[in-house]
Amino acid sequence: MGVSRGTEGGELGCFASPAVVGDALGEAAYLADERISSVVFLGQRLGKPVLVEGPAGTGKTELAKAVARMAGMRLIRLQCYEGLDEAKALYEWNYKKQLLRIQAERTGGAGELADWAELEADIFAEEFLLSRPLLTAIRAADPVVLLIDEVDRLDVETEALLLEVLSDYQVSIPELGTVTATQTPLVFLTSNNSRELSEALKRRCLYLYIDYPTPDREQQIVLAHVPELSPVLAGQVTGVVRSLRQLELKKKPSVSETIDWAQTLHLIGATQVSNQLVLDTLHVLLKHQSDIDKAATELAAAR
């Protein structure tokens, strides 16, 4: 089903091959490894949503944003939370406007009840439809990236809402009929893995697990975000972070925290990571007191 995109091949040149995707993402300030770029490529090529999972702070949301930047597409974002419903995710009828329309009809006088059928057809027209992120993405005329963020926060029942959108890129509105996408949006779903997503949802998606990056790649990421830092210091930064991630902590330092820490070191003008310096700035990397204590004793033991 997916390869119906031939017509727009020109403007989507950045999806030519996984390597090209990787380079283009790099230009959009996102350092993708081989796996990430090849899954993004496949998602576009097969026309399938990409489900991105992984620990917090490894750049899942950022990936979708970067893809939008790289391809020059509009980003439509649906932030999920418990209690999100159809009216917030798909569409809603503009009830007030409909009411106004009916009243306007009545004050207009003439043949009131005679053309009820006409009126009914009228108030359930597109004009009175408030489109929410999912419908907006489906109806968009220009190519868009749809980001469904933290999909694991959604109730199990609401998750089913997504299925029609994700598999057929269409929304059925009882009063209007089925709205089908004119172009297939690129869809990214992110999840922090706080609950098991349904098999039905997983089956419709490509799966990408973004783990903590390798030290080398993390060093590149740090340097990309804090270019003023010396490569040696960046190497030490990622070394310390890797060392910390090997401990059993409540919350391991994320990539964004690594970047924050590198920024901190840059600001205080450090040239060398020393034991004392790490202890003094540990609170940038770790956010639980028990974790900080544990890391401090571990590092002290390294002497």
């Binding site: 996984p18 899954v39 097969l46 609950r195 098991e196 030290p215 030490q236 070394g239 034991n275 544990k294």
Partner: protein
């Protein structure tokens, strides 16, 4: 390609990774979109379409190595059957040249070369040396149905990775490093030595696959998914993996239990308020009134055997119970071998349950005499000391293999507990077939329990906890 894909998917299903038909179709479509000559891309395409759970990646990686990493591309293209003699020259794809040069080196020189390769981060050279070492020392016998651990052992006695590690350490000692820098350097060295070892393992696997075929090798190398690893005979590495999976698992289970509780609020009809309301509608009860749902959070008492054989199981179960304790009004834990002790406060004071479960076996009064479990005595002591605190909202869960070392069973205690408690469950980490063999007296205890469940792996433990109420 289709046949190998089909075989690969069959292998994944055999391991227990759920692969649906539509995912199979996706995988085939994905393979058409990418160049099949690029192994890394084939791998990520298959991973993205077939595996939808991060815990299954380990099994996937191994299976992929077996099915798609078998022969060096050059050989695969020629389609020659790869006999052990031929493997010599073609060991490293960087070229036959290095292969023949390497074969002239002495054992010492080869070890030396490996050191240089690892120190200089030369991945290609590491592969070449690993291949040469396997040629020389593994002594692979064609046709033997083995998993290759012995070949690995034989290779590594000659290709000395521990010596390599200490040489790396020494070279680092030369530079004057602070404590932190040394620690970082050591971790880096360990990672590189591990990588070299993995390279040797991969090389042996390649030879095995060349010798027999992928499906046959997959059968001998197959490793269970983390959730299917049996508690009783898990290796240390597997236990480590389990410990990694248990926290996210617990989080998911807590979410599921909370959801279940929220959606099962069916409370009783409040008759008085219904009648009172009906007065407004002339005595016709149009609106029914219900009692407020009481948050039915059960209290859990875990009574765990922590004698050597089953301690890992007890540790995991206690850890899991604590991780989801928000779903219970209270979790109390008791451990026993032949004496019994409450450890609730110990666990609550500790920052990290894992550290406590490690120490469980040491120095508690759970061991009174000789350290052989005595279920009868432990249960009776439990009943005497804490039996009065078992209430109608308490679920008592006993964890153990019921191997009583021929002591008296005192099974009447269970009947007594069950009469007071809401439920009495017994989780046994042994397979059902092993119950009542030897000194196991499950049959005597079973009638006293509401439910006796086999609980050999995380999957079973999980389905038990999710059924709790």
């Amino acid at each position: 390609m289709e046949t190998i894909l089909a075989a690969f998917i069959a292998e994944l299903r055999a391991i227990g990774v759920p692969v649906s038909l539509s995912e199979n179709v996706d995988a085939a479509a994905a393979l058409q979109a990418i160049p099949l000559t690029d192994r890394a891309q084939v791998k990520s395409a298959l991973a993205a379409t077939l595996v939808k759970n991060h815990d299954h990646y380990g099994a996937f990686d191994l299976a992929f190595e077996i099915f798609f990493g078998g022969r060096p591309p050059a050989l695969a293209a020629e389609g020659t059957p790869n006999g052990s003699g031929e493997a010599n020259g073609a060991g490293g794809k960087p070229g036959h040249g290095t292969g023949s040069v390497l074969s002239r080196l002495t054992e010492e020189e080869l070890n030396d070369l490996l050191y240089q390769a690892v120190a200089g981060r030369d991945g290609v050279l590491v592969t070449a040396v690993a291949s040469e070492a396997v040629d020389r020392w593994a002594g692979i016998e064609p046709g033997r149905v083995v998993a290759g651990t012995f070949y690995l052992y034989r290779t590594l006695t000659r290709l000395d990775l521990e010596a390599l590690r200490s040489r790396l350490r020494q070279s680092a000692d030369g530079e004057d490093l602070s404590g932190l820098a040394r620690r970082l350097a050591e971790e880096d060295q360990d990672a590189r030595v591990d990588a070299a070892r993995a390279e040797v393992e991969a090389e042996i696997r390649r030879r095995l696959i060349a010798d027999r075929d992928a499906q046959a090798v997959a059968l001998t190398l197959r490793r269970p998914l983390p959730e299917d690893v049996e508690f009783l005979n898990a290796s240390r590495a597997q236990l480590g993996d389990l410990r990694q999976t248990i926290r996210p698992l617990a989080r998911k289970m807590a979410a599921r239990l909370a959801h279940k509780r929220r959606h099962r609020r069916r409370a009783a009809l409040d008759f008085r308020r219904t009648v009172r309301k009906s007065l407004a509608t002339g005595g016709v009860p149009v609106d029914l009134a219900f009692r407020k749902p009481r948050p039915a959070k059960p209290e859990i008492m875990l009574v765990a055997d922590i004698s050597g054989s089953v301690s890992a199981f007890a540790g995991f179960t206690i850890q899991l119970a604590y991780a989801i304790k928000s779903e219970f009004s209270r979790v109390r834990s008791f451990v026993f071998v032949d004496g019994i002790e409450e450890i609730t406060s110990v666990l609550e004071a500790a920052a990290d349950i894992t550290t406590v479960t490690h120490r469980l076996n040491l120095g508690t009064s759970a061991v009174r005499l000789d350290g052989h479990s005595d279920y009868g005595l432990a249960l009776e002591t439990f009943w005497d000391r804490w039996g009065g605190q078992v209430r109608s909202r308490t679920s008592v869960i006993i964890l153990g293999d019921a191997r009583n070392n021929y002591h008296a069973s005192r099974a009447w205690v269970l009947t007594a507990i069950r009469q007071r408690a809401r439920h009495l469950y017994w989780l046994n980490p042994e397979p059902v077939a092993a119950w009542d063999t030897g000194d196991s007296i499950m049959r005597e205890y079973a009638p006293g329990c509401d439910l006796v469940a086999e609980c050999r792996n995380l999957r079973q433990l999980r389905s038990f906890v999710e059924g709790l109420d």
